[in-house]
């Protein structure tokens, strides 16, 4: 085990953890505002498509990034409208958006690229830094920003209050619905950022491969705290990296090795259940006084 290999492993792990970590940060904001968002997977599926499209169409990967973030925000907006304004059950809405996302991405792909299940190749990629996608490094300032925003700003305090006790926040004049919207749209935007660290060279149906759900497990494991969720994501990401790097050397059939991240997520959740505490009003519709 030499130093350059360790370095490679650390960097590769960061790159692989990044999509989960950004998505998990999105999940944290949404849930802290009291909205359960299981549509991270579906949103990421669409944003990774628009990332590729935007890059090709405007011949710049940065335009692709903007397209991805905007798409994520729009889809987040849909979830927000359905759950906050129409008060549909959060899990039902999340499931519906996941299904919608699958359909939408196939339709968009066929409209944009002529084929239903994969896009054209995108030659415009993010610059690399130390051999990996440089956007992965954005994780560090972004998580610091998230921690600061959530715990040291007026916005963060109010957001957390809305997820904890929206009735109380409402009586103090806090705009509950607006903050819920912001939390959910922010989670969509972060999904857009997450897809930037996935595979920017081509979109293939199913490429998100459950990372959106692993991100949810990371949110729970990280106790709904931005730093905690990112650390949990790193755990999952590095475990997956371990699998990839050592796959050929492991005497177990490859399919079982592929199961590893999913089994790990289950084991982690099974070990924790009941001990962590979601925001008290997570998943509950907010009904103002007159209703």
């Amino acid at each position: 085990m030499n130093l350059s290999f360790v370095g490679y492993f650390l960097l590769k792990g960061l790159e692989i953890s990044a999509p989960i970590a950004f998505a998990a940060l999105g999940g944290v904001f949404s849930e802290r505002a009291g909205v359960v968002n299981i549509a991270l997977e579906g949103i990421m599926g669409v944003t990774s498509l628009t990332l590729v499209w935007g890059a090709i169409a405007f011949q710049s990967i940065w335009m692709g990034l903007i397209a991805a973030v905007v798409t994520g925000m729009l889809m987040g907006m849909v979830h927000a409208v359905v759950t906050v304004t129409f008060k549909v059950d959060h899990v039902v809405s999340g499931v519906a958006i996941n299904v919608f996302g699958i359909g939408l991405s196939r339709f968009l792909c066929q409209s944009m690229f002529g084929a239903e299940t994969q896009s054209k190749i995108n030659p415009y990629l993010f610059p690399k830094l130390l051999g990996i996608n440089s956007v992965a490094f954005w994780l560090v300032p972004v998580v610091a920003l998230c921690m600061f925003a959530l715990y040291r700003t007026v916005f963060g305090l109010r957001l957390r209050s809305v997820g904890e006790n929206p009735e109380a926040a409402d009586t103090l004049g806090v705009n509950v619905n607006l903050l819920k919207y912001v939390g959910v749209v922010l989670s969509g935007a972060l999904c857009g950022l997450a897809s930037a660290t996935l595979f920017a060279d081509k979109w293939i149906t199913g490429m998100v491969a459950g990372r959106g759900f692993i991100a949810l497990a990371a949110v729970i494991f990280g106790r709904w705290d931005p730093l905690g969720a990112v650390l949990a994501s790193l755990l999952f990401g590095y475990a997956d990296t371990f699998r990839i790097v050592f796959e050929s050397k492991i005497p177990i059939p490859s399919q079982f090795v592929q199961m590893f991240p999913y089994v790990l997520a289950l084991v982690v959740l099974a070990g924790l259940a009941g001990r962590s505490r979601a925001p008290s009003a997570d998943g509950k519709p907010f009904l103002k006084g007159e209703e």
């Binding site: 040291r152 305090l157 209050s161 006790n165 109380a168 926040a169 103090l172 004049g173 806090v174 008290s280």
Partner: protein, 508 residues
């Protein structure tokens, strides 16, 4: 410039099917405590919600210090110096006292919290009003009385000069009530005005300068403290001479149906929620449990009804040990339970009234056949009979339960629990949130059950109800029964005193 701090003139508010406020007028002078009394559903809370901006009136006007104002939301109310301490605290439990107080009024630089100046202001406020709380402690660590202080600080912090208190003493021990009243007098000494909503007439007479009685959405009378009596107020509240005594036929008490032996219940929040309770309830007897909410009554009932979170001890039904029995077995064995929150625990709101009336016995004949299918016709027939017998107002037995009024929903729950022919009836807050007609009806049903030889365990936050109905009363304090009274010795003052923990020679 008017003499009055606040005037609400001809306030009218309609909800579907009911007029909550009908041309209500009320005013408040500086330095005054003005009590607003009325039955549940009379319209007091609606009126105050209008004042605080949580509801909008259909007609009428609000005047603060002679100036007409419009209140579109809590922010407007706060800006005008109106503050409300709610009956159910509006606090963020895991947040600190500081955070709870400043939420919505945070001082900041460019969005970043900068709270040093506000800390100082709060410290000053605490000193001025003699309300001391540790500003950095988390609210969930504080006792109920202290949490209320946080609520008061919240509104003082925002410069409230008109303070509304909605049933503030419901969750306090008598000692804490005294402290609260001291605080209220301190506040009025500074020239502020207080509106005090309560249906506890003793407290109202002790603190109020003026009293306004509201009944069915209208103001019945506004009177000065001088010359006001409990009897007079109660009659105005109800609209007819009030029988403060319930008809009590002499009933022969039978053997013990329920025996609780050294029961200990441990919950996640409280390791000694019930810390060693022993008592009996006999056939033909109503045993009341008195105590301020939060002293273990709910946990005790849940342990008897469901076996929830029992750590040790025994529960015996007619001599048989049922401590480990699952809920269904307890019900089949003759235990009926009127839960304290009918909507959360007692009724499937989306299901029909008929199905709700069969719930809990749906697995037995005649509702369930030998082939494990449901006999819906039997359910409907049984429901029709029950609806008639208990006079439940509903368009049909197929009406979904959520469409019924609160009083009829509670009647339905009571009817269901009694129609199974139980041996033991557990009644938790059976008349909470129920109009006077239904309350009287439920009281009669409970007395009827007693006459029929059933054992009734009655938990109620309404001391008058308990004293009127119970043969014996056990007072619960911090998870233990510290004193028992018989019907003859159960006097309001004595029971109230026991509720504070006095009379205990057990180390608490």
């Amino acid at each position: 410039m008017s003499d009055f701090l606040l005037e609400m003139r001809d306030i009218t508010k309609h909800f579907p099917g009911v007029t909550a406020n009908d041309r209500v007028s009320i005013d408040l002078r500086p330095g005054e405590v003005h009590a607003l009394v009325g039955e549940n559903g009379a319209g007091k809370t609606t009126l105050m919600k209008i004042l605080y901006g949580l509801n909008r009136p259909d007609a009428g006007s609000i005047w603060v210090r002679g100036e007409r104002i419009s209140i579109r939301g809590p922010r407007d109310a706060i800006r005008r110096g109106i503050g409300m301490v709610h009956q159910h605290f509006m606090l963020l439990q895991p947040f600190t006292v500081l955070e709870n107080i400043i939420l919505g009024e945070e001082s900041h630089t460019a969005g970043v919290l900068a709270l040093a100046a506000q800390r100082k202001r709060i410290a000053d406020l605490m000193r001025e009003n003699r309300l001391v709380v540790d500003i950095d402690s988390r609210v969930e660590e504080l006792s109920v009385g202290v949490q209320q202080r946080v609520e008061i600080l919240k509104i003082l912090f925002r410069g409230a000069t008109i303070l509304i208190f909605d049933e503030p003493t419901a969750v306090l021990t008598p000692q804490e009530v005294d402290e609260l009243f001291r605080t209220l007098r301190e506040i009025t000494r500074q020239g502020k005005g207080i509106i005090f909503i309560s249906h506890k007439l003793d407290e109202v007479l002790s603190i109020a300068d003026r009293i306004t009685v509201i009944r069915q959405g209208r103001v019945v009378q506004t009177m000065d403290r001088a010359g006001a009596t409990k009897q007079r107020i109660a009659e105005l509240m109800v609209g007819k001479p009030v029988l403060l005594e319930v008809d009590r036929p002499v009933v022969q008490r039978g053997s013990a149906v329920l025996a609780v032996r050294d029961l200990r219940v441990r919950t996640a929040r409280n390791p000694s929620a019930v810390g060693g309770v022993s008592f009996d309830v006999h056939a033909g007897e109503i045993y009341g449990i008195a105590g301020v909410e939060g002293n273990g009554q709910s946990e005790l009932v849940r342990a008897i009804a469901e076996g929830a979170e029992v750590e040790s001890g025994e529960i015996l039904l007619e001599g048989g040990n049922i401590t480990r029995w699952p809920v269904r077995r307890r019900r089949d064995g003759g235990i009926a339970h009127i839960p304290e929150d009918r909507q959360k625990y007692g009724l499937l709101l989306a299901f029909s009234l008929a199905q709700n009336l069969a719930l809990g016995r749906h697995h037995k004949p005649p509702f369930s056949t030998r082939l494990a299918t449901i006999n819906f016709r039997a359910i409907r027939e049984s429901a029709r009979e029950i609806i008639k017998r208990f006079d439940i107002r509903t368009p049909s037995e197929e009406t979904p339960a959520h469409a019924l009024s609160g009083g009829n929903q509670q009647k339905a729950v009571v009817a269901r629990e009694l129609s199974g022919g139980p041996k033991l009836l557990l009644a938790s807050q059976p008349t909470r949130g129920v109009d006077i007609g239904a309350t009287e009806f439920i009281h009669r049903q409970l007395m009827q059950a007693r006459s029929e030889g059933k054992a009734v365990l009655l938990i109620s936050a309404d001391l008058d109800e308990l004293i009127a109905l119970s043969d014996r009363i056990g007072v619960m304090y911090k998870g233990k029964i510290i004193k028992e009274f018989t019907h003859d010795t159960a006097v309001r003052e004595a029971v109230g005193l026991a509720m504070t923990g006095e009379a205990s020679d057990v180390a608490v």
